[in-house]
Amino acid sequence: MSAARTPLLSVDDLHVRFGTSRGLVYAVNGISFDIAPGETLGIVGESGCGKSVTSLALLGILARNGRVTAGSAMFGGRDLLKLKDDELRSIRGREIAMIFQDPMTSLNPVLTIGKQLREPLEAHFGMDKGQANRRALELLEQVGIPSAKQRLRDYPHQFSGGMRQRVMIAIALACEPKLLIADEPTTALDVTIQAQILELLRTLVSERDTALMLITHDLGVVAGMCERVNVMYAGMFMETATATALFAQPRHPYTLGLLQSVPRLDSGRRQKLMPIPGSPRNMLSPPSECPFAPRCRYEVEQSRQQVPPLEEIEPGRLVRCFNPVPADEWQRQRVGGAA
């Protein structure tokens, strides 16, 4: 169990806001989590719930109009949110690295792959070109790119999407970071390539005992990769549990809604997909009620009066709800086949 290990990164009560022409956007509203070395932590949620913003905030690379307004993120005895840009820069890529969603746009089209692989090595280890090139070659081979030596001189447009994501992974792992943040690493790829990339990530991360923070909207990816999963909605964690527990017995109505809206191979033929009604919360005001309440079938009066606290309702499981889903609800629905 990961709780026994000392956390590598410990985020507490993180708040992020953006100033826009329409007013303040409350993107992240108090999230807390720990990641231990070697652990794989999942953060799931729909678009715009603040998943990516969380990771960008940790690395200090938010867009100009974004501000961290509260919280701490302890990493190796230092609070990432209070470091100066220079200090953070020496952590980015060296100790915490990040992989982005779209490998088609995350590589610079005018630079060779070799040059882009050398960049973190030169920035953090001060390697000269020869050393960096040898290391770049090793890295390309590790991520499974054939005839790596020739490909170092190639440009991104000469690579396919899956190969580019492999290159991105190689760049992120170049300095052997302790924590790797993967922000929707497979979203832009087709399904067969997705499986390969996830497998590659899993292997590389376990070989190095790297902690992996996997951000995705794809429940399938989380199920296969993560030990613990956080379900995020409107900038808050709604439910936190081990992946097995979460998928067997979702307790938050939002988690249940997510599971119901995804087709499953083992479900009955007549089982209908149930979309979550309504649209995500407008984030222009701080939450004053349960942010999911307007879309929720389990809503109770109290949900409209205050934000429910994130409470441990069973060991290892936190749920932010006044009226959690009964533990056997999901199981019952799947067996019954009726919705």
Partner: protein, 302 residues
């Protein structure tokens, strides 16, 4: 041949390597640009080898030639005739290419270097820095170019270096604006964020990620600005703000001296005029060709 082999061949055919070689490939297939290259290289060669090409010195006077009135037209000894002081017009035009080329290149270099630095800083750092720089540029743009140039020459005093600086300064806001816009566009790119995420220093991000992606419109504008600079300098020369020695074979200055003889010897005005037109046309054709070659929307089409 297997399908895989066919595919790999096709890929090789489709992709002539990187961005620049791709652009170069398309440039070579553009007839206008080739003509432009022809005109400009002639212009450059003439400028470089002027002493070998010109039969006379540019300041060599032979007043006996104009003893019977001004001015004898083209003849076997004097291809383009002689001017009011009996100087060989052909030699003067040939030497004039040196001045025009030098003036064009230096003034564009002045404009480009300051404009690029200011534009890159404004675009990359944004905020107050950006506002201050760009408002300054707006003020400069508010004054008509030639008028600003005349003002600067009036301040510095007439002379060939002064007009180069003046024309260069007029170009600064144009380049600064252009590069700022391009940098702003590139700054939000995913690969810039990705580079920041792996800890690449700011300066490297600007230098090796943003600028190479942002310079292509500036290259085009620079080529076109060479043409404009030649015209502007000729204009300033014509107004008498150019080289103070009237014997200098600068095309604009040559035009000034010949106004009085327009009716009797129009070739004295026409020939330097044609020289200006040809060199300007050459740079414009190259500029347009470059614009097409570097346009990302046209990339991939032959």
């Amino acid at each position: 041949m297997s399908i895989a082999e066919l595919e790999s061949r096709e890929i090789q055919l489709e992709q002539p390597q990187g961005l620049w070689s791709d652009a170069w490939y398309r440039l070579r297939r553009n007839r206008g640009a080739l003509i432009g290259f022809g005109l400009v290289s002639t212009f450059v060669l003439v400028a470089l080898f002027a002493p070998l090409i010109a039969p006379y010195g540019p300041r060599e006077q032979n007043l006996s030639l104009v003893a019977d009135g001004c001015c004898p037209g083209p003849s076997a000894e004097h291809l383009f005739g002689v001017d009011q002081l009996g100087r060989d017009e052909f030699s003067r035009v040939v030497y004039g290419a040196r001045y025009s080329l030098l003036i064009g290149v230096v003034s564009v270099a002045v404009g480009l270097s300051f404009g690029l630095v200011l534009g890159a800083i404004a675009g990359f750092f944004g905020g107050i820095t950006d506002s201050v720089i760009m408002r300054l540029m707006d003020i400069m743009l508010a004054i008509p170019g030639l008028l600003l140039a005349i003002g600067i020459v009036a301040m510095l005093g007439p002379g060939i270096w002064q007009i180069m600086i003046a024309v260069g300064v007029v170009n600064i806001p144009i380049f600064a604006r252009l590069l700022r816009g391009a940098v702003l566009g590139q700054r939000e790119n995913d690969f810039v964020l990705a580079a920041r995420a792996i800890g690449v220093p700011k300066r490297t991000i600007l230098g090796s990620h943003i600028l190479p992606n942002a310079v292509s419109p500036v290259i085009v504008a620079g080529t076109l600005a060479l043409a404009t600079a030649i015209i502007d300098v000729a204009g300033l020369g014509f107004l008498g703000l150019g080289p103070q020695d009237p014997a200098t074979p600068e095309w604009g200055t040559m035009l000034t001296g010949t106004i009085r003889y327009l009716q009797t010897a129009p070739h004295l005005a026409i020939i330097p005029g044609i020289a200006i037109v040809i060199s300007v046309l050459g740079f414009n054709l190259i500029g347009d060709g470059l614009r097409e070659a570097l346009d990302p929307k046209l990339r991939g089409r032959a």
